[in-house]
Assembly symmetry: C2
Homo-oligomer: 635 residues x 2
């Protein structure tokens, strides 16, 4: 349980030093000759000069006849000139200029006669002739050094007689996954097995940046084996990524191995996630120790490795697109690190709203869902809700302007809606955040969503939703749109081993309940039902164990760490759990007036009313389908 001290060096300083040392040691001076025809996207390593002229011969620039200009000098409107067949040659555009000709006359200006042609205007020498080198002159520079080759540049090179071109070699980046618990991807892992997917993520990123990734076999946590694999990778590659083992846990050999093989510039960078990165090298080759958590790893290779690749390719990092956004909730950050927070973004009206995503460094789905990155500088405590912040976009702004922002209660049908709406409208996207029914109402009050799924039971009359909407929108400005009736009930393990009959059995000794978070409609429902039946919820073991979606409650029960949980039928169905129906509830969509007349909401209503949606609901199961898309009430 011994610890090694990590440095907390500033990111800019660390990568600047790293890059300087590697360049001084000779990084990035590899070139190769490739076919010009296959060089698109590659970068020239030296200037490219034309070897021949283009065109390389005098060519007709028109369909017409080639003539000796002096034969036509006397032609006018009133005194046409007649040319004998031997005085002209019919040419098409691009045909070489025949011997002894020095002009071309357009076919439109030629009057065909029995024998020969008649002309009503003289031709100027060299008219309608493409000069030699009109496009490219031999010896001219076609491309300077360090230029990205475009399709048109390929054409220019071939036209200029250049068939092979010298380009910067792509850096070969070796990726070494390490760890006793790491296994190749499978759909059936044993407990404790960690699927090796970092290599695939990093490979895809590296390819996008112009590097050639090479994934090595998984190496167990063994000093000698790791050392041998790095040795091999250093021989075969230009850069080496050692994945995992960069922190200071019991079996983290990375730093020691790199120290043994070369140098370690820094172990520990003042960024979060990603702080335990190891900046090592041998000679001109970087050996980067990357944390095992995918999100940390992504940040480290993006912040440390990408600049090295840009440097190798003599390219300046593309300036990311930055936008101002309004933060939907507070983000607290430690003073010690520069933090990268992933956010969902959506335009609601003209406001770009940023909602922070889960910051767990293991949560790869948050990176996939992220529309942008919010950077919180070192020494800053974070931002209040409603702050104006600067975010780096990860998606085109245009897409964000056409994204339907759903913030509210969770139901798997939202994902099906997202799929259907994008299938029908390639220009419309939908993003959902699950914050519960009350969270959805609050977001609508702040003008941060287009729709909110809600299912809120009014305890006094047993009605759904309307009482809450009236209370939180006293001045109106919203519509309640019918979606579905849902069967709520208790999800229990298959076969119902604890013989639960209803919520009255939840206090049963030895029974472990899994709850939903406060503010969710399902939590309000279970609270209400317990109160109505006089059940003391402090007597329910696990009543404070909160999950954020129906499916995650089901997942805990399936795994055996809980015995019962309240949720909808479709979630139980998905996990093959037994289900004890408790009640039917109304799940509606709250749509504020400001969102009503947007193309996204119009398309959503169309999808709600469609046969395709009905089919998806039937497949999910447990829904009562009335008239989805009907406006129940306008407030």
């Amino acid at each position: 349980m011994g610890f090694q001290y990590l440095t907390n060096v500033d990111l800019e300083q660390a990568r600047g030093e790293y890059c300087r040392i590697l360049l001084a040691n000779g990084m990035g001076q590899k070139t190769e000759w490739i076919k010009a025809a296959h060089s698109c996207g590659r970068i020239t390593s030296q200037a490219v000069y034309a070897r021949i002229c283009a065109p390389h011969y005098y060519a007709s620039a028109m369909d017409g006849i080639a003539v000796k200009a002096s034969d036509t000098f006397k032609a006018t409107e009133t005194t046409p000139v007649h040319l004998q067949p031997h005085q002209y040659i019919v040419v098409d555009t691009g045909d070489p200029l025949p011997e002894n000709c020095d002009a071309v006359i357009m076919i439109e200006d030629v009057v065909q006669e029995e024998e020969g042609v008649r002309l009503y205007a003289s031709a100027a020498p060299w008219q309608h002739i493409r000069q030699i080198g009109e496009d490219i002159c031999a010896g001219e520079m076609i491309l300077p050094s360090y230029q990205k080759i475009t399709p048109a540049a390929i054409g220019a090179m071939i036209a200029g007689g250049v068939q092979m071109v010298q380009v910067l070699a792509r850096p070969v980046v070796g990726i070494i996954p390490t760890g006793d618990e790491i296994v190749p991807p499978t759909a059936d892992p044993a407990p404790g097995d960690i699927l090796e997917f970092n290599g695939s993520i990093f490979s895809a990123m590296l390819k996008e940046w112009g590097a050639n990734p090479k994934i090595y076999p998984i190496v167990p946590d063994d000093f000698e084996k790791i050392r041998a694999m790095i040795e091999l990778a250093l021989e075969e590659c230009d850069m080496v990524l050692l994945n995992a083992g960069s922190s200071a846990g019991r079996e983290d050999y990375s730093c020691q191995v790199i120290q043994k093989l070369g140098e370690v510039l820094y172990h520990g960078i003042a960024i979060k996630p990603g702080k335990p990165a190891i900046l090592g090298y041998r000679g001109e080759k970087p050996v980067l120790g990357v944390p095992g958590y995918p999100v940390s790893g992504i940040i480290v290779i993006e912040q440390i490795l990408k600049p090295l690749i840009d440097c190798w390719n003599h390219r300046i990092e593309e300036k990311p697109v930055q936008m101002h956004a309004v933060l939907s909730r507070a983000v607290v950050s430690g003073l010690k690190y520069r933090e990268f927070v992933r956010v969902r973004l959506g335009y609601v009206g003209e406001r770009l709203v940023a909602s922070p995503l889960s910051r767990g460094s293991g949560v790869i789905s948050s990176f996939m869902k992220a529309d942008g990155i919010l950077e919180i500088a070192q020494g800053t405590e974070g931002y209040e809700a409603g702050s104006q912040v600067e975010v780096r976009l990860l998606r085109p702004e245009q897409e964000l302007r056409h994204t339907l922002v759903a913030i509210g209660s969770h139901d798997p049908l939202l994902d099906e809606l997202a799929d259907l709406i994008h299938r029908e409208n390639p220009d419309i996207f939908m993003s959902s955040s699950h914050v519960g029914s009350m969270g959805g109402i609050m977001a609508a009050r702040r003008g941060e969503n287009h729709i909110a799924g809600i299912h809120l039971l009014n305890e006094t009359d047993g009605e759904y939703n309307t009482a809450f909407v009236k209370k939180y929108f006293p001045r109106g400005g919203v519509r309640l749109v019918e979606c579905v009736g849902r069967t709520q009930g208790l999800m229990v393990a298959p076969g119902n081993p604890h013989h639960i009959r209803g919520i009255e059995d939840l206090t049963q000794s030895g029974l472990r309940y899994v709850n939903r978070q406060k503010g969710s409609g399902t939590r309000i429902l279970i609270d209400y039902l317990c109160k109505k039946q006089g059940i003391d919820t402090t007597q329910i073991y696990g009543y404070d164990r909160e999950e954020f979606t129906h499916t995650s409650v089901a997942a805990q029960i399936m795994s055996g760490s809980g015995d019962a949980g309240m949720g909808i039928y479709s979630a139980a169905h998905l996990y093959h759990l037994d289900f004890l129906p408790v009640c039917m509830e109304q799940y509606d969509l709250l749509i504020p007036d400001y969102a009503w007349d947007t193309p996204m909401v119009r398309q959503l209503l169309k999808i709600l009313k469609s046969e395709a949606f009905r089919e998806r609901l039937l497949a999910l199961g447990g829904y009562e389908i009335g008239e989805p898309g009907r406006v129940r009430q306008r407030f």
Copy 2:
């Protein structure tokens, strides 16, 4: 010489109809299963659901010890709890939660004792434990349909147990080059041979758009052979491009062949370049006849084929980046077509200046040099110089802001400067337009360039440049910076077959002169020399034949279509021509004050003074090198 009538249909209308017909016929419904790990950039053809939870087991979220939370419930600051070794298990981050444990305590909060550990705080059940499905729940939708797969999405799929993913198949696009005169790329073509490079340009473009190009062998202009090749391509591909033969020349079979094999929707679109395009199809497969001139072909496949590929991929065309720019000179357009004019762009101060490039449809170099496209709507006559126009950017705006705009007299040393400045400064680019010395002075007066190469002889005192600068900048505001002395002279064929001794021999009968354009320093020089020696320039055959650069004059002499031309030594040297020195002239750089303090000009001055530049000049030959980069005079 018969003609076929071409339609002149509106572009939007034509491509809309084309796409609708092809979709109705079933275009773009091909899918394939591929490995998730290798799916980056591909597009899902259906929603992807997780097969397992991630994490799929309870895991420690910290380095520390796993305990039964209830064992720690009584621990406080003042009454610590002691745990025996059998009551806890040391765990690292990511380790599976041991049997019977339901909490993890961070190592920092654990006090190691001789036997066991001491705790000063109780642990809450499930603290520091990653829940099953915290990241992804089994059955949850990971990706909707028609979504581009990102590196993070690959990670999410593998973490969710998804190893194979169904994606849209990339359309296979067959490219058939046709024409008797077309030959494979070579550096030694015979006169009349046209190098086949369109296939390589189109392939590179298609790959960028997500299609798989397949280039077929060159087919001669033979109806049956073309028909057979299209048949083959229709069997093997999803789309077919027939290159060349789309116009109405003598040997243009394309339209007839396509009509024989399928349908022709339109032959002739109201765009320029690109009007003779043929929009044909058989069933769900488009057969597009593309003009042979590369620039026309590029416009046609960009405007007609790309929308089909986007449609196939269920993607909305990305909105191009449009910017306002000031037009540096007038552009005249026909009323009949929508015209696409390629422009060079450069920021001079805060003004984006657009300079139209050569509009010849054979000129591939103009496409390579283009920074943007100016569209002139059908029914519009064009724009005046100085107009505010909208241009579509082909390069990132950031690059345009760091581009040194050289407009003025031509010298090959400018290309060398461009190469050196970008080699030293990856973020700085240089673009040169050759408009002659007077053109450069006028551009500087209008504030459209950063530097202008000039070499203008004052006839009265034989001095270079200063008199002109004084005249055109009476209120000053510019600097004249020394560049080089250049040897001007007569370039003649190797061995000087006409025994030319000097300009006095240019009137010699049978001698063909090649001149430079009016306004160029070299033209002013030859005019002056002739006047001084009393030579009547109307007696010089070819005095009106104008070329725009030293190298293109040299190219004409090398080709044998001219016998003599005035130019600099380095151009003659490049083409192995004989050279009769006439005089030494001063080639300076004019730099306006508004450009002086830019990073581009500062770097240029550094390069001018460098040893590397001197070496390049020596290699080019014919220069007198004094103190390049020295300010000769400030006005």
